[in-house]
């Protein structure tokens, strides 16, 4: 039986999720995720054409805060956990200008 999620799909999803998987992981996930997706198929037994999706359990809306300034962190605390920094910036390897940023 063809897998629900073959290895090339696993690799594609891993790229979307920014996970550098080993070949071994790719093979394992392909099997495990296919089994899970196979199980999930059971949802198709239900006719949901006229059912609204439920993203929030709570019937609440319009929760706002006033536009009032609260204290920011001091720069040292903000950068305390940074793996690398340069002056008061977070430091990363050079970002190539592409269209990732929106």
């Amino acid at each position: 039986m063809a897998k629900k999620l073959d290895e090339s799909q696993v690799r594609h999803v891993a790229k979307l999720a920014r996970l550098d998987l080993t070949d071994d992981e790719v093979a394992r996930f392909s099997g495990q995720l296919s089994a899970i997706l196979g199980y999930v198929e059971k949802l198709n037994e239900l006719d949901t054409d006229s059912v609204e999706p439920l993203a929030h359990c709570l019937p609440i809306h319009n929760i706002f805060r006033e536009d009032v300034v609260t204290e920011s962190l001091d720069t040292e605390s903000a950068l305390k956990n940074a793996p690398q920094r340069i002056d008061s910036f977070f430091k990363v390897p050079k970002i190539l200008e592409d269209d990732s940023g929106e």
């Binding site: 920014r18 996970l19 998987l21 605390s77 305390k80």
Partner: protein, 495 residues
């Protein structure tokens, strides 16, 4: 003497401390000694705050000696699951990716505990990012069940449940996304309450499935669960999904706890419990008999969509998780790979190195469920089924005050037994997931033991924001039984 002390409930201990009969310092010392004694074996704690705990206890003792009025948990040692942020030390989520992360702030519940003069002893182990049902997915350490060292404590709040059961604290906080408080409570023979979604602020709780996550207490009895709720429940303006006082007022959950619910109607979903082990079905039947003797009426109801809860849950929770965990990328905090070739590798390698297998698996599943071309078939479909499941609950709660079902289909299983088969592991959550999908409160209380002397959990679910009644219903059972007073003997195993 120390042992007697450690066996007290929070409520008993608080009263003794407040009356000056017991010093908080002595209690904290006893708890730290117990941890030093047995936690090498149990593995409940990721970190302890010995210095902070002793200092807090001293301060409490001084204030009590000075006659000052104190909070509801004055001097009581409590533990928190290590996915709630504190500025007392690291917040790891049992993940290597956050191993050294120091939050510059406290979770709302931590602030509440501190304001109630509780003594925060330390932070408990969990399945990495709360993803799991056995605590075996911890990236940092192993926790075993205090009732049987070969078995899992349940999960993901396995550390909290094990710590409470093994007298390494008097109460603990857990988080419950699909059963992560109730199932380990059931496995460890303690009480675990998942409040209504929105009842307790999630601010400072590291998100797994944000529309499902809820913080709740793990305690030794129902009264302590009520006491803990008195401390942590309520609106927090930093969490948009924590509900207002107008919508659902917080009440004193202890006040009427011992009043029986008159004319109690209990629903049982017909056919749904058949998949549980025989011991568990028997315990459930006995429990229903006890309620009948208390005058309750049992009604069989149909909840046709509960069978779909696992499928819907694992799509919704993982979809949210894939997004919630995107932030762990080695840029602003957390683990960063040693020598990335470029900035993309900072992401893909740091995440590959930092996350364990189950977290990766769930991120993969959730990413797939949201990805272009699959969203409607998986994620959207799951949201629709979630609505159907909620409607099942709404219908039942028109006819009954609560629903009773097992907490889990089995008692605590063996370490390693299910870890290689994630789907089998997911299927163990069959009874707990629906409460999260519907947002309703649910409690697990001890209701017996199987042939191996492993605790069995009884689960009671009630309508949204009826925790007060839910606790009273649970208390009715507890007051007629003594399962909750049994304790494991982990010390004997270690010595």
């Amino acid at each position: 003497m120390a042992d007697e002390l450690l066996n007290l409930t929070c409520k008993q201990l608080r009263d003794k401390i407040a009356a000056g009969a017991v010093k908080s310092t002595a209690v904290v010392e006893a708890v730290l000694a117990q941890i030093a004694d047995i936690d090498d074996t149990i593995g409940a704690y990721i970190s302890t705050f010995n210095k902070h705990a002793l200092e807090t206890a001293e301060a409490v003792d001084e204030k009590i000696a000075a006659g000052e009025s104190m909070g509801a948990l004055a001097g009581v040692p409590v533990a928190i699951k290590d996915n709630m942020c504190t500025d007392l030390g690291a917040t790891t989520c049992a993940s290597r990716i956050l191993e050294n992360f120091q939050a510059p702030y406290n979770a709302h519940v931590v602030e509440k505990l501190l304001a109630a003069d509780a003594v925060i002893i330390g932070k408990t182990n969990l399945d990495e990012f709360a993803m799991g049902s056995s605590t075996e997915n911890s990236g940092l350490k192993r926790t075993v069940n205090p009732w049987d060292m070969e078995r899992v404590p349940g999960g993901s709040s396995g550390g909290s449940a094990a710590a409470v059961a093994a007298r390494m604290c008097f109460a603990a906080l857990g988080s419950d996304t699909g059963g992560s408080i109730r199932q380990p409570a059931g496995f460890c023979g303690v009480v675990g309450l998942k409040p209504t979604y929105g009842r307790v602020s999630r601010f400072g709780l590291v998100a797994y499935g944000s529309s499902l996550d809820q913080i709740g207490p793990v305690t030794r009895d129902v009264a302590d669960a009520a006491l803990m709720m008195n401390v942590i429940a309520g609106r927090d303006k930093r969490d948009s999904t924590s509900v207002s006082e107008e919508m659902a007022p917080v009440c004193d959950y202890l006040e009427k706890l011992d009043e029986d619910v008159k004319g109690l109607k209990i629903a049982v979903a017909s056919g749904f419990n058949a998949g549980a082990d025989e011991h568990i079905r028997n315990a459930l039947a006995s429990a229903l008999d006890i309620y009948k003797n208390l005058g309750a009426q049992i009604v069989e109801v149909k909840m046709p969509h509960l069978d779909y809860a696992i499928a819907a849950y694992y799509l919704i929770a993982t979809a949210e998780a894939s997004s919630n965990l995107a932030r762990y990328d080695g840029v602003h905090y957390g683990h960063r790979t040693e020598s990335p070739a470029d900035y993309i590798e900072v992401y893909s390698k740091s995440r590959a190195e930092g996350f364990g297998a189950e977290v990766k698996r769930r991120i993969m599943l959730g990413t797939y469920a949201l990805s272009s071309g699959y969203y409607d078939a998986y994620y959207l479909k799951a949201l629709k089924v979630r609505n159907l499941i909620r409607k099942d609950f709404t219908n039942v709660f028109e006819k009954a005050d609560c629903i009773i079902m097992p907490t889990s289909p089995t008692t605590a299983f063996k370490l390693g037994e299910k870890i290689e088969d994630p789907l089998q592991m997911y299927l163990t959550d069959i009874y707990t997931l629906a409460a999260n999908l519907a947002g309703v409160p649910a409690i697990s209380i001890p209701c017996g033991f199987d042939a191996d002397n492993l605790p069995i959990g009884l689960q009671i679910l009630s309508p949204a924001f009826t925790e007060e009644k839910l606790l009273r219903i649970a208390r009715m059972f507890e007051s007629k039984t003594n399962y909750h007073t049994h304790r494991p003997k982990p010390a004997e195993h270690t010595k």
